[in-house]
Amino acid sequence: MDGVQDWTSMLIAILILSSFILNFTDIPQKIQFTRYSSVVRRKLMELIEFEEEGRRKSIKYLKDMNLPNPKTLIDDYVDNFFMIFPVEREPIDVIKRLKHLLRTRDEAVKRYVLDKVPNVSEIDRQRIEVLLELNSVLTYINKVVKHYYNLGVKFNDWIMMMQLALQINQIVRLAKAYRDAIDSFGVGAPIGDGAGALVARMLLGNVSGASEIAPETVLYETSFEGRKLYVIKAKGPGPTVGWPGEALEKLVDSLECRISRIITVDAALKLESEKSGEVAYGVGAAIGDLGPEKIAMERIASRCSVPLDAVVIKMSNEEAINTMTKQVYEGVVRAADIVKNTILSKTREGDAVVVVGVGNTLGIE
């Protein structure tokens, strides 16, 4: 009996002591801080490995293109070529300013590659640009994570460290997608984001003879069940998205609004509960740019009062920037059927219809 009483009094003493420690000291938080920061440190090593691996792979792909010194090409690019967003507090002509900045940046990147690698083909130039951009993104992700990690350590901020530790798995997943994307772009097969462009290609069948209506953007003219069909997509098979909004604007202007329907097709981010390759349709401009292209489509459609349809193929972030999966491809086939049905049911013979296949056209002519 005595032994049991000893134990109970000791247990009570331990309980009181631990409740004191839990409530009136920072020791539990310090312990958690150590635990969470070790989680972040471990994942940060993974991120650094991703960055280095991405760099190695890019150098390999650039060497395969016979570039003289790929390493300096990448090192000089990363961290540079940022774009400062225009002032939004004064919204007048903000889209025009944004468009100008975007074009200026694009031109600067193009000039950079052409200066370092003269006599490069257009497709190789676009591939180099994408590889540089992917490396830049990987470096940036690492820098942001390191920033918050260092801040957390510096100020003993366990809440910041905890938030970082809880989010780091998603960040690693994103970085992994970008690292894998280097391979996907190196391989040259269509990526998930090319779903819209692939729908456009499917509507065309074996039609060729495109005209470059806007920079890196092409227009095909064909017919479908008695309708005149104009198809706009980025110029393939290099990895580019072109300027579909500008192209649509030019086309509809040149036809003096004699268009009875505009159908935009694009890849869209799925919610976690949705399946990859699900297709949905609605109205509006299906395009995920920063604004200038989308607003160009909306403006021209509303100015000519042409109905603007949207068809989207859903996929995850990772699928969008990696080689197109079979599920997404099956979605593309369904989306092409939906576009055909829309044309058949909502336009009459003799009408003119524009289909805009939005997205990166890598591996799709």
């Binding site: 049991v4 269509p190 990696n322 080689t323």
Partner: protein, 99 residues
């Protein structure tokens, strides 16, 4: 008499807590390491279709192929074949999300 009954109940409680905690740690460690290794890259498939007889051919992707490329001869009728699709065939992944 079994050994357990001779022990103090507090010892049994302590042992139970230790067993629970260590198995929890072990399980969470095992779960983490098992989610890390399921990385299977699929194969990229190129689908070619004959423009005259609609014969469809699936083959592994070769570098340089792109959708819309024509030029190869159809093994059936000798007509031109066009690449109509290129996609990645992945092994089915276990679905954990509620859809």
């Amino acid at each position: 008499m079994s050994v357990l009954l001779e022990l103090d109940p507090l010892y049994i409680l302590l042992i139970a807590i230790i067993v629970f905690l260590s198995s929890y740690l072990l399980i969470s460690y095992l779960r983490e390491s098992s989610t890390q290794k399921k990385e299977e890259k699929g194969k990229i498939v190129t689908v070619k279709k004959c423009l005259s007889c609609n014969y469809v051919l699936n083959k592994p992707y070769d570098k340089g192929e792109y959708v819309g490329r024509v030029g190869e001869k159809c093994p059936k009728c000798g007509g031109e074949m066009m690449v109509t699709a290129i996609y990645l065939e992945t092994p089915p992944q276990p679905q954990e999300a509620i859809s």
